[in-house]
């Protein structure tokens, strides 16, 4: 049993336990894998409907990992908790930041894919804009959530587009896409899986006594 009584630490430990399971890492890894598939398959003779199906399928898999994983594995182990108003206010902020980040990311992505109407300066600035947007949104979310692995995930996300632009000058577009998006996606996925396995081992389901 706990031997000290630090109420702030108790609350923080309970909050951080929410991310111990690695499910959000895996979901973010799958999301980046969806972008990898999109970026890579565009260079192959694959119908757009198939490409979109793969993209949407991986996005849905990311949502499923979090939804089903929390329900089947996490909640039976660490239980349900409703945090205090201060925490809920922080959660609200993160939700707003995440929504804005998704919109901004989508706008930048479309801007990079269909850059014909953009000025040359804006086209050149796109990788830097992507990196800054990723660092700010992931950094803020990591700070507000106290979810430390998210800082590293943010750095990996931020590196993708600038790395792609750099690698495209050296290798084929397929190889560049696979390395720039696929490798960070796999790193995040493996990190999430390791956290998940560690969580399952360290946190058994409590047995109800007869």
């Amino acid at each position: 049993m706990e031997q000290t009584l630090d109420l702030i630490a108790l609350e923080r430990r309970a909050w951080r336990a929410t991310f111990d399971d690695g499910l959000w890492d895996m979901a973010l890894g799958l999301f980046l894998l969806a972008l990898t598939a999109e970026k890579t398959l565009v260079h192959f003779p694959v119908a757009e409907s198939v490409r979109m199906s793969i993209f949407v399928g991986l996005e849905l898999a990311a949502i499923l990992v979090v939804g089903a994983g929390k329900r089947l594995f996490t909640l039976p182990r660490i239980g349900h908790v409703k945090f205090n108003a201060k925490r809920r206010a922080k959660l609200g902020k993160v939700e707003i930041i995440s929504a804005l980040a998704v919109l901004l990311g989508a706008a930048l992505w479309v801007g990079m894919e269909k850059s014909t109407g953009l000025s040359i300066y804006l086209q050149q600035a796109m990788p830097a804009l992507w990196a800054v947007a990723a660092l700010i949104t992931f950094g803020l979310s990591a700070y507000l959530f106290e979810y430390r692995r998210l800082y590293f995930i943010g750095v990996l996300y931020a590196a993708t587009v600038p790395l792609l632009r750099f690698l495209e000058t050296l290798y084929s577009p397929v190889a560049a896409s696979l390395v720039a998006f696929g490798v960070p996606a796999l790193i995040i996925l493996v990190m999430g899986e390791m956290a998940f396995v560690r969580f399952l081992r360290a946190t058994p389901v409590p047995e109800e006594e007869a």
Partner: protein
């Protein structure tokens, strides 16, 4: 006088400590419920390290004292027990903390 309260040992008659909260396991339960709005049984087991039966026994005492509100419901076919500190429980825990601090600060170096 609130439930579980009584005068403590000789020489400290001016101090009253809530004996119901003062038991270590119950103090941990109260502390965990104090820092969140509400939680379920599994959350408390995970964070306090108590067994199911032990926690159940302590919660019964805290519920009888009016410190903890217990709400039982079903999510699908699974029962869920939601627990939260009552206003009485929250103020009793606050009082307990200040009593404890005062008692310890009264001890000479």
């Amino acid at each position: 006088m609130t439930p579980g309260r009584g005068s403590s040992t000789a020489g400290m008659e001016h101090l009253e400590i809530d004996k119901l909260i003062h038991e270590p396991a119950r103090m941990m339960v109260m502390a965990h419920l104090y820092v969140v709005s509400e939680a379920d049984f599994v959350f408390l087991i995970h964070h306090t390290g108590l067994t199911w039966g032990n926690l159940s026994a302590h919660l019964t005492k805290l519920e009888k004292a009016g410190y903890v509100a217990v709400e039982k419901s079903f999510v699908g076919k699974k029962p869920r027990t939601r627990l939260r500190l009552t206003e009485l429980g929250r103020s009793a825990f606050n009082e307990y903390r200040s009593q404890l601090q005062k008692m310890l600060s009264d001890i000479p170096d």
